[in-house]
Symmetry: C2
Subunit: 314 residues, 2 copies
């Protein structure tokens, strides 16, 4: 792309706040605080696969950074730096202006420096790597869940996937709810502040990107434990209870909420840091010894698991 | 892609040698040595733009990592970790096996751990981020060149772009030279060891990816200096001198040699570390005060610069 340098100058080169050397040399250089390690996460988003063709470019810029921040937060780390590589079919200044403004809106809100990347000609593809700092011995792994831990989630589940289903014409929603769901889908709020404070109180953590069941299963498998969940306690919009469309809670993707387990004795601490970081949190179940994962419905009855997921219920 | 986990397990999850936590959680975690900083470089390669459709997948796997290692080496840093994100039109196990084997051949040769990344369905696109360690105050920038510095390059220039021209049917080469040129194009050797030893003796450095003139110009601009080069001293295949196809030296891309400047008093030191790291090095000119960049031909006459580059000579 002839004007690669110009695109970078114009849209992606901003003042660095926590970076020794940013965009402009063969590589960027950063400094890590004493007694900290580095958490690194990469994601690639392809048009028509991870986002719809006509997605608002500003929302897309926000989201592609936000989903990586969510991964870093789920490690108990504080995200600080990002690289962005992007291939575009042609140089579209209107699109680039909107995309970069959404990207930096998210970057500024969460204190991220964009330190490098690449631009190329090609089908619209966005690849981001985020780096964060984590204190020695405070990383939050999937493998740390202990028997009798409380299972917690942030926010409400299922909202984003309801937004997607609604955009795809597969779900009718009342207008106010549709707006809320599409907002959750397009501009998710990564739980960055809570994540970086959780590690002292929590035993395991993951961010929910593929649906509650699949992501909880990653924790259970890595920790060699099982779990029991209470449907009534899973935070979601009332629409889900009324319509019984529980598949959005269990299998819906794109939530980018944190799912974590913590000893019962830490409840007060966790509620305190949730309040401090302005995050809603809910206890939705308990880590147990015995497989399989159980989910109890409103009346305390076991919900029946279908091999393809929880999308059909008895 | 349904079997993303399987692809990663099968082709990309290897034993880590210098990594606290590799592939398998929300993010990887690495530790940086005391008194070191981190250099980070990202590149994106798109099929039919950065590589030809039928490129040998094993060579492609090698090259996409090698070009990023070259960037890190050009900062005076030692590359240690990489993330790889790749989008593929479909799961092709033969291709993945070859691609990953080439990638790890390069990773193993230069001591790199693959610590994360992503796989997606989409047009063939490869996005890599490499991280390296650099000692405090030993980073090598483009902006450090000083008047009277020697200008050095590693290896031979123009070979890779001759390989590309030959594959495109634009250049006829004798068979043995064609093989050498295509090898340089498809499996370049990044000057990793030399790069990480250069910083004590050298004032500025860049890797040559876009041709000698363009990359030297980056150093000159960043350092606010100029240069004089001697055509006779630029290392290249004899074919170039015989055919006078100097455009391959000056404008040919994909060399991935290091171009650096160093005080005259450091000549012996540089030759010593070049020998120690088994790298050929040549002095091709001098950093000067006065613009423009001058190139002297075999007879000491000034070569005439064409605004589109040095592809036509007087």
């Amino acid at each position: 792309m002839a004007s690669e340098f110009e695109i970078i100058e114009r849209y992606f080169k901003k003042k660095m706040k926590q970076t020794l050397l940013g965009i402009g040399d063969d590589a960027a250089i950063i400094n890590i605080q004493k007694n900290h390690k580095i958490a690194i996460s990469s994601d690639m988003l392809v048009e028509n696969i991870h986002f719809l063709k006509n997605t608002n470019p500003s929302h897309l810029g926000w989201k592609c950074l936000a989903v990586n921040l969510s991964d870093i937060a789920a490690m108990g780390a504080k995200p600080k730096w990002a690289t962005l590589s992007i291939s575009l079919p042609k140089i579209n200044h209107v699109w680039l202006k909107k995309f970069s403004s959404g990207f930096f809106k998210c970057a500024n809100r969460f204190g991220i420096d964009l330190i490098g990347g690449d631009t190329a000609k090609g089908p619209l593809t966005i690849s981001i790597t985020v780096l964060g700092e984590v204190r020695k011995n405070e990383r939050l792994l999937r493998s740390g869940a202990k028997i009798d831990d409380d299972i917690w989630v942030t926010g409400q589940l299922g909202i984003a996937s309801m937004g997607l289903a609604s955009l795809q014409g597969k779900l009718n929603l009342p207008p106010h709810l549709k707006t809320k769901c599409i907002k959750a889908l397009e501009t998710p709020i990564p739980k960055v502040l809570l994540g970086s404070h959780l590690s002292r109180y929590s035993n395991s953590c993951i961010d929910i990107s593929d649906g509650l069941i699949q992501d909880l299963s990653h924790i259970l498998k890595a920790s060699k434990v099982s779990a029991q969940l209470h449907l009534m306690n899973i935070p979601c919009d009332n629409f889900i209870h009324k319509s019984k469309k529980y598949q959005f809670i269990f299998n819906g993707g794109d939530d980018y909420e944190l799912l974590f387990s913590a000893p019962v004795r830490n409840r007060a601490h966790i509620k305190k840091i949730a309040k401090k970081t302005n995050t809603t949190v809910s206890i939705i179940g308990t880590i147990t010894r015995k497989k399989p994962l159980k989910i109890l419905d409103h009346e305390g009855n076991l919900m029946v698991f279908n091999p393809r997921g929880f999308d059909h219920f008895a």
